[in-house]
Amino acid sequence: MKKRLSPYLTHEVWQVLFGGLLLLAGVLAERFGAPGPAVLAVFLVALAVAGYTVWLDAIKGILRRDLLDEKFLMTVASVGAFVIGSYAEGVAVMLFFLAGEYFEHQAVARSRKSIRALMDVRPDRAIRLSDGIEEEIDADDLSLGDTVVIRPGDRVPVDCAVLDGRALIDAASLTGESVPVEVGPGSALSSGTVCRNGRLIARVERVADESAASRVLSLVEDANEAKSRQENFITRFSRVYTPAVVLAALLMGIGVPLILLWTGHAPGWTDWLHRALTFLVVSCPCALVISVPLSFFGGIGGAASEGILFKGGNRMNALAHVKTVCCDKTGTLTEGKFEVRAITPAEGVERETLLSLAASAERNSTHPIAAAIRELAPAAPSPASVEERAGRGIVADVNGRRVLVGSKKLLAEEGVSMPDGAQGSVFVASNGQYLGSLTVGDAVREESRDTVARLRRHGVRRIGMLTGDTEENAKPVSDALSLDFVRASLLPDGKYKAVEDLIAERNGSVLYVGDGINDAPVIALADVGVAMGGVGSDAAIEAADLVIMSDKLDRLPKAIRIARRTVSIARQNIVFALAVKLAILILSATGINTSMWLAVFADVGVAVIAILNAMRALRVKRL
């Protein structure tokens, strides 16, 4: 292997440079009337300088009986140009072809590099702590149950659980979520996240290969195997295109003159051959074949850097056409944490009395609603005794008062009379007297409203909620977000049925977002299944079309934007490149323009533009 001065200064550059100078010399020599053989010699040397590497590859192509090899076709085109006396064009074809190849290689290498950099979340070193001694080892060498030390600035080497220490963890490279999270003993850490400050001691829960960062990488790598519609089109198209163009060139360059000769006309060999060679110049669909998958490669890689993992280009097509979005409520639209939303004391009762008594009664309860009530009256005294009534509530002795906290049913059973139409989730009474009610609900996430609005802007027609929660709890969330439909009190198979019905309506494709823990079948069923909250569950990843690493729904509109733009970039490239090729074919077949200069310039130009356009797909930050 030769050592290179710079990755950009490959020998192709020298070939183009020297070939170009020789071409110029040849053109000048011709212009100033140098003798014919001298001019030919200069052009021949120019062709050899520019073309020798292509010729070598062409020979290999012939040896494997691949006569449609692009190198072989380019060789035929340039040599053909010499045969009909168009020396300068012959050299130009080779030079432009080489320059185009050089550019393509650089662009592809650059894209690969940026994606690798984006995906560089895999830590390779780790500090293992054994018997009080710290040693730096390969992250791959960690085993389950080992203890590791994570210092400020370190990347978490494997999935692990914090044993000791507190720190802020930055998961941006993995989840796209920029706000750091505070962790302490018991917290789970994902590999690839970064410890901002603080020193942590943690126990290894998964080996390196099974940890989050590795799973994300392999998911993204495999993603390129599920091809998009556009990629499949290009593959099928290129299989037909080259043979068709070459056949047309043969007919035109040899067939037509023979027919003319046969029918007693002047054959016009030079003119027809010229047209045929121009065909060969645009016979390679390579730029197109690169630019389309390159768009998806970029789009998928860019999305991954935002914590959005597409399982393939085809999933981008599907996501771009989503018309209905169904969300699971808990944890996607809401915080998954209860809070007291309204306090309604009965007439003549103090707010504080109501709260304090309710909080005392709920003091030792593990129910999530109890926690929400306690939060508002942390100083409430402990009850002397507590009796739980399953499904109804609590009867407690607080400072000698008999306090009831629970459903209307509980109060009715205990003979407490309530005003008609009392509203709330929990009702409170003391010594037989009604004190009032508390309304407890799951808090709607701050960003949910904005997310819903953005989804609508992106052309989603219906947004709804499928939840196992009761109608009473679901309704306020749905109202707050003005959703289009709510199905409450659904068991997991009920969600399945609901999505099945939505799909059966054939009203555009249906997307379902869930946490993937117990709704994997629903995720698999939906036209687009989205698993939120990372790569934790195998079943969810298997079933999902899209995995969102964070547990925030605001990634969803972003995912749609990325998918839409990627698909549209791929389409632009197909239309633009095909239009230019077709134009050249028509111009040269009709004899309006048979200049190989123009053909090769347009063909390489469109390739460069298509590739630059494709590289745009990688930039998703501002979408």
């Binding site: 494997r64 390129n224 593959t235 074949v289």
Partner: protein
């Protein structure tokens, strides 16, 4: 069994598809897939690891010399 290799030096996905076809035809290899952009070759075969790489390289000889295939 599925094995992955690195493939570098290919010019375009077209050439990748051709190489893929050639490797897929090798005796003892059930299927071959090249991902041009991530530069990975995935082969399904029951050949022993050493023979497999040699067989793949033999098939790739028909391609320009800059095309190299290595174990990951």
């Amino acid at each position: 069994m599925k094995t992955k290799f690195s493939v570098t030096g290919l010019d375009c996905p077209n050439c990748a598809a051709k190489l893929e076809g050639l490797i897929g035809k090798v005796k003892g290899i059930d299927s071959a897939k090249i991902n041009f952009l991530s530069e990975k070759l995935t082969v399904e075969s029951d050949l022993p690891a050493g023979d497999l790489l040699a067989a793949i390289r033999e098939a790739a000889k028909a391609f320009p010399d800059k095309v190299t295939i290595d174990a990951l």
